[in-house]
């Protein structure tokens, strides 16, 4: 029997799945520092390293949700610190608009997080992951994101 993604959501061991897109220069290094500093944080987060937060196409976020993410995080350098000067400023505009669009279409904006974490902020990273994991757990499995099956009314 092939299950749907929600079958595993019903078990008591359910853990939120958080996909995180981190820029190589700040946030990824920050997460690295957290590790090297032996700061622990939940394993619910799956990190995808990108050159810059400006590289994050809204499509990445959408695709993560489609494939079963309960929450998506994009994290980059603080304003002014971008390795490529302005990638994070572009990301800020784009992702704000994207969040508004998703919310307009009825996708819970709390599922989509955006943060600035520098290479020196290992502690901030570990605390951030703790917090958003707790929030994701509270929100529960992302059941309201549309599934592939047609609803009966539309058949």
């Amino acid at each position: 029997m092939i299950q749907t993604k929600h079958d595993q959501d019903d078990t008591a061991q359910w853990q939120p799945r958080i996909v995180a897109f981190l820029c190589n220069w700040c946030s990824y290094a920050g997460a690295d520092l957290a590790g090297m500093s032996r700061l622990s944080y939940p394993a619910s987060i799956k990190i995808i390293r990108l050159p810059c937060s400006g590289k994050v196409d809204p499509m990445f976020v959408l695709k993560s949700f489609e494939r079963g993410a309960d929450m998506v995080l994009v994290s980059g350098c603080h304003p002014g610190d971008c390795h490529y000067t302005s990638g994070n400023y572009h990301a800020r505009r784009k992702l704000k608009a994207f969040r508004e669009l998703m919310s307009f279409l009825g996708v819970d904006p709390r599922r989509f997080k955006f943060s600035w974490v520098s290479a020196a902020e290992g502690a901030k990273w570990s605390k951030l992951v703790e917090e958003i994991t707790a929030e994701a757990r509270e929100l529960g499995p992302f059941r309201t994101f549309p599934e592939a099956a047609k609803t009966e009314a539309s058949q």
Binding site: K94, L105, F114, L128, E147, A148, A153
Partner: protein
């Protein structure tokens, strides 16, 4: 002579002159036809055919969509009949370097609004007198006062609803989508040679007409038009399933106006919000 007849005459005359003097090889305009719901586009290449040109309240189409069509381009320099709102789309095509100003001739036509009951965009229109055209024809039309009122009414009505209500609303609406891509094909600004939906390695957008694929497609379409859409409303008009796409476009246009004081297509020199940034942009909502 009725205003419509005199506009038709000026259009025919203008087009015939341009064609006979060799200024252009092709004139794209409207051919109002008895008994049709829509005055279809007509492609005129000889002065004689120019008699078919006209203008009435059934001229919904935004003919700037043809300006970058490969078939049209190979026919040579093209004149196109544009309403004031259509000029905004031309401006975006110019600012994005899709077309060059010297390759086209704009025949503006003053428009009192299209549709039996005026379309929403016409009730809030502030560009009835086309700007930046080479020729403008038609009698003067009244510009409604207070046009900015209600510009984004469809989006605002939905914004007032709760997240759950909006989700239900859009799930019901997007469920109807049959993925015919009429919204994309009719859009003057959807000129990508290969749309992301058509890319299959990897398949970014699922092509199946199920709720997940339909949400994905409609998000992508709306987002790629954010800061570019000029609100011509063609996508919503042509949607065979009557999905209120205009509301999504309005939402993004409203955001651009509220946040960046920007309305797309007001001039060919403008800089779109997503091609630039400000260090003062808000950090609100960022952890």
């Amino acid at each position: 002579m009725s205003p419509e007849a005199s506009t038709a005459q000026s259009l025919a005359q203008t087009a015939a002159e341009m064609l006979s003097q060799g200024q252009v090889a092709l004139v794209i305009g409207y051919a109002p036809t008895e008994g049709k719901r829509l005055s279809p586009p007509v492609f005129v290449t000889t002065p004689e055919e120019a008699q078919r040109l006209g203008f009435d309240s059934r001229c919904f189409g935004n003919l700037s969509v043809y300006l970058w069509s490969p078939q049209v381009r190979q026919m040579g320099k093209t004149a196109v009949v544009v309403k004031g709102c259509d000029v905004r789309a031309v401006n975006v095509l110019l600012r994005e370097n899709v077309i060059k100003r010297e390759d086209i001739v704009l025949i503006g036509v003053r428009c009192g609004g299209v549709g039996d009951l005026p379309a929403h965009k016409c009730t809030v229109c502030d560009c009835r007198d086309p700007q930046g055209c080479d020729v403008v024809v038609g009698d003067a039309v009244d510009q409604p006062d207070g046009a900015a009122e209600g510009r984004y009414s469809a989006a605002e009505a939905l914004e007032e609803k709760s997240l759950d209500e909006r989700r239900e609303f859009w799930q019901r609406q997007l469920d109807k989508c049959i993925r015919c891509y009429a919204c994309r094909q009719v859009c003057p600004l959807c000129y990508c040679k290969r749309c992301i939906v058509e890319k299959s390695t990897p398949q970014w957008v699922e092509t199946s007409a199920h709720p997940r694929g339909n949400l994905s497609w409609n998000v992508v379409r709306a987002f790629h038009l954010a800061g570019r859409c000029v609100g011509c409303g063609e996508c919503e008009r042509v949607c065979p399933m009557n999905i209120p796409l205009g509301a999504i476009n309005q939402k993004m246009a409203k955001l651009m106006e509220d946040e960046y004081d920007f309305r797309s297509g007001m001039s060919p020199e403008e800089k779109a919000p997503f091609t630039t940034f400000s260090t003062d942009d808000t950090d609100e909502g960022i952890l």
